[in-house]
């Protein structure tokens, strides 16, 4: 076993500035018969352990592609992505969880069995994991729904189940691709604030993809602004708003300033892209 693998296995204490995932000069292009789309061009990014990082940008700028790279589902054509200094070679379900826009639950499994599914795959479905699952179900506010089937739940509730399932293996990183994109505005804001509470309680690192500038500012420590054609990282913004945050922070001067700044960035890149 080399040192890097040992580092993977030992629980390393978190400090605010430690890098957990490093994206190093990643380029990813998709070729079709007629054209080539450069989804990511020379993207580099250090994700800090324990932070809440959002990726924003217009449709098609490569957010999902980057997230798939971070999850190990997609191995980049150029450059590499390292988890704790070891290049990712595939999914690492015990360290990195991925939450999709649609909850992707097993319709034939109850809430508790969906949450326990990753432990079943690992042959670790013990009494301990069962009580952990119950804690997580409580954490996402679904106590009492353990034995319901997905079709008996609302969209927001399904997404909560999928978050609980994402946390069952105590991953260090939770990747979320527009997890609240299919929800109405009210549910969406409530779910965002709830996610903040979960993030604070578990200490998990969150990488969060969203179309909504407001959602990104409300939740994040840092925001990576991406621009399309080719997909590039335009700017990394530190959000210096006090925590804990609530919905009132939206009216603060700093919030308004950040919102305008990000919007200007995106508008500029759009007109730049049309030349």
């Amino acid at each position: 076993m080399n040192e890097q693998q040992a580092a993977l296995e030992d629980a390393v204490p978190r400090t605010a500035s430690e890098t957990i995932i490093a994206v190093r000069s990643v380029t990813q292009a998709f070729r079709s018969d007629k054209s080539t789309t450069t989804a990511l061009q020379n993207v580099s990014l250090d994700i800090r352990s324990g932070e809440f990082l959002s990726l924003v940008g217009p449709s098609g700028c490569g957010k999902s592609t980057l997230l798939r790279g971070l999850s190990g589902l997609l191995l980049p054509q150029e450059g590499q992505i390292e988890f704790r200094d070891t290049p990712l070679r595939g999914p690492e379900p015990e360290h990195i969880g991925l939450i999709f826009q649609d909850a992707r639950l097993f319709p034939w499994k109850t809430v508790i069995d969906n949450v326990l599914f990753p432990t079943v795959l690992q042959n670790r479905n013990t009494a301990e994991s069962r009580s952990h699952a119950m804690e997580l179900i409580e954490l996402v506010g679904l106590s009492g729904f353990e034995d319901n089937y997905p079709h008996q739940l609302s969209g927001g509730m399904k997404q909560r189940v999928s978050i609980a399932r994402g946390l069952i293996q105590r991953p260090e990183v939770l990747l979320m691709d527009e997890p609240f994109g299919a929800l109405d505005e009210f549910t969406r804001e409530a779910m965002g604030l709830e996610l903040l509470r979960i993030w604070e309680q578990t200490g998990v690192t969150v990488v969060f993809v969203t179309h909504s500038i407001d959602e990104a500012i409300l939740l994040s420590d840092r925001i990576a602004v991406m621009t399309p054609r080719p997909g590039r990282l335009a700017e990394l913004i530190e959000v210096e708003l006090d925590r804990p945050r609530d919905e009132n922070v939206v009216d603060s001067p700093e919030f308004v300033r950040l919102r305008r700044h990000i919007r200007d960035q995106l508008v500029e890149s759009q007109s730049g892209g049309r030349r």
Binding site: G90, P93, F100, R104, F106, Y149
Partner: protein, 263 residues
């Protein structure tokens, strides 16, 4: 809100009224079957009344010699069935797994569903002779294509995105089969198996009627040639009751494993 929620569609079945009307729809034809021959509109030698046929069926069931026929038929059906289900489920799984393979083989399998299998009966007799093997083979032939087609269709029932999800969990091929494909297709396959059962039964009975020494099909044919309509109808009644029982049991099982689809 300006929009009203659409009315929830009412599910039929389960209420007392539907149960009563169902029983009614079964009882009315039986009552007509009883009354019409007795009034003499149709002579009772052409159509013996229901009660006479039931009595004859009881007599046949009481006769030890009949058990040989019944057990012959049921054994043939059962063996054919035990061959059909794994054969169809495995080939359907392999065909449905890959979209390229499916695009080539699915139309071919569907084509065989449409071919009347009875035209192969003389061929089977030439190849296998008269007897157990030939009956079972014909039962398999009748059902295997239709069950394979339902299995292929069932493979499309797998909810979008779940394959990608299990990939993020590093599920093995076997785990994918067990946790994803198997539960997703089970309700559809049970429905296909229910259909397949009817076809297998048809196949075995047909083969027995065509040429055989034993079995319920042979019994029906024998009574027919002797113009013993009462006994003939009695055997038909027995066969109908047996297949209804099997059918209802499979349908109930299908509803149980498919509960997650509707609730």
């Amino acid at each position: 809100m300006a929009f009203e929620a659409p009315p929830v569609p009412r599910r039929h079945g389960g209420t007392v009224t539907t149960l009563v009307s169902r029983i009614g729809w079964i009882l009315i034809p039986l009552a007509l079957w009883e009354v019409i021959p007795r009034t003499g509109v149709v002579s009772s030698s052409t159509l013996p009344p229901f009660s006479d046929v039931t009595a004859a069926a009881m007599r046949i069931l009481g006769d030890p010699e009949s058990y040989e026929h019944i057990s012959t038929t049921l054994t043939e059906v059962l063996i054919a069935f035990v061959i059909v289900v794994p054969l169809a489920v495995i080939s359907g799984y392999l065909i449905g797994l890959n979209s390229y393979v499916r695009s080539i083989l699915e139309p071919i399998v569907s084509f065989f569903v449409g071919v009347p299998k009875s035209i192969f009966l003389p061929l089977l007799i030439l190849a296998l002779g008269l007897g157990f093997t030939q009956k079972v083979a014909f039962g398999v032939l009748q059902a295997v294509f239709i069950v394979t087609v339902t299995m292929i269709a069932g493979m499309r029932e797998i909810p979008d995105g779940l394959q990608e999800y299990t990939r993020t969990q590093r599920a093995s091929r076997w785990q994918d089969f067990w946790h994803l494909y198997r539960p997703a297709v089970t309700p559809v396959v049970v429905e296909g198996v229910r259909l397949g059962m009817i076809y297998t039964m048809t196949g075995v009975l047909l083969a027995e009627m065509y040429a055989s020494r034993r079995g319920l099909g042979q019994l029906i044919a024998a009574h027919g040639t002797r113009f013993d309509i009462e006994s003939l109808l009695a055997v038909v009644l027995i066969v109908a009751v047996i297949s209804i029982i099997i059918n209802v049991a499979l349908a109930a099982y299908g509803r149980r494993v498919g509960r997650w689809r509707t609730g």
